[in-house]
Symmetry: C2
Subunit: 217 residues, 2 copies
């Protein structure tokens, strides 16, 4: 066979019917993540099955296990990347020269908008979309979540140190503030059929209420 020419052509267009050629290094890994993310965003955790992802990549389902330990690893990797963005936002905000309360408000606002923009990812990471994902599997994502929370609780500790906390400790106040925002976005996401007030209004009422309720002027 005149292999030389065929090989150069093959680099542009892999043969379809035959076996899919090896992906160069971690290229295949990226392809899998891209396909999985698309399906996951469109159809959620249960809808993103191993076989569907494999078909989208053009590869057998077994091949996914060459690159990821199991299904959860694929989806958690997607979640990890998304939360890195959230963390980046928080880090950026934490360095801005603004009042601690404004910082907290903008962080929580960004958090809620992130949730509304990435509902399936948000559910996966913060609602235990599938209760079956074990703790150690979630470790990488949980650590990032902790990092986000740490960025967030920095300004809260400032506020607490300034004696401006109306109730609770810095820790419980931070947890409650976070939870209030989680509450509204998770409910709106998981129960879209209820007739909610407009998202903007809900976010604003939540922020106003909870900040004025916990933090003194």
């Amino acid at each position: 066979m005149g292999d030389v020419r065929i090989v150069t052509v093959a680099l542009k267009k892999p043969p379809r019917s035959a076996r899919k050629p090896k992906g160069d290094g971690h290229m295949r890994r990226g392809e899998i993540l891209a396909a999985a993310e698309k399906i996951f965003i469109a159809e959620g955790y249960a809808g993103a099955t191993i076989r569907k992802i494999a078909d989208a990549v053009g590869v057998s389902s077994t091949a996914l296990y060459m690159h990821f330990r199991d299904k959860d690893q694929i989806l958690l990797e997607i979640g990890r990347e998304a939360i890195e963005q959230l963390l980046a936002i928080n880090v950026a905000l934490s360095h801005e020269p603004i009042d601690a309360v404004a910082k907290v408000r903008r962080m929580l606002d960004a958090y809620m908008r992130f949730a509304f923009d990435n509902p399936n990812t948000y559910q996966l990471v913060f609602c235990g979309s599938s209760e079956a994902i074990s703790v150690e599997k979630q470790q990488a994502v949980s650590d990032l979540g902790d990092a986000c929370f740490d960025e967030f609780s920095g300004p809260i500790r400032e506020i607490a140190a300034a004696g401006r906390l109306k109730t609770g400790t810095a820790e419980s106040a931070a947890q409650v503030l976070w939870a209030a925002c989680h509450g509204i976005v998770s409910l709106v996401i998981t129960k879209p059929s209820r007739n909610w007030a407009p998202a903007e209004e809900l976010m604003q009422v939540t922020l106003d209420g909870v900040l004025h309720g916990l933090i003194a002027e």
Copy 2:
């Protein structure tokens, strides 16, 4: 086998004419619910499989489909019964001769305690434990949830009518108040490995914060 006596006793039972519409059927349904509830409370949605429930009842898995359309119907029925209790509490509270704000606080307090007492049921009903449960399947449970929310938003409307709402409308305020409580309990339930402040403190800070934040003295 000395079964004769037992049989004769059983024969006395049917008092009504025609085919017995209840008796066996109704009993079996109750048995299934009891077994399912036990397993569901212990092992959650994914852990309560059709086969496990059927084994616990001592019946083939197919038999469950004689009494329930599918698995979700069984578990949603359990959820429905639980929420009826919650609704009863809310109704009772709404008739107490106390201040509207106190009413709201006690309702939300009861709500959070209910969630902590029935974590799996709470997840099933309020966290979309399995995102795959379609809207119309949830109808019965959703209606009860709406009834609870209506009981709760009664006093809120009173408060709004008295001009004591610091921000938002009666509707958005009610949704935000509910969501704040949902947020803290759902996070604590689904992420038990995080180091949370004590549940009592979280509940109190949530209630204090959100009520003072949204409602004027």
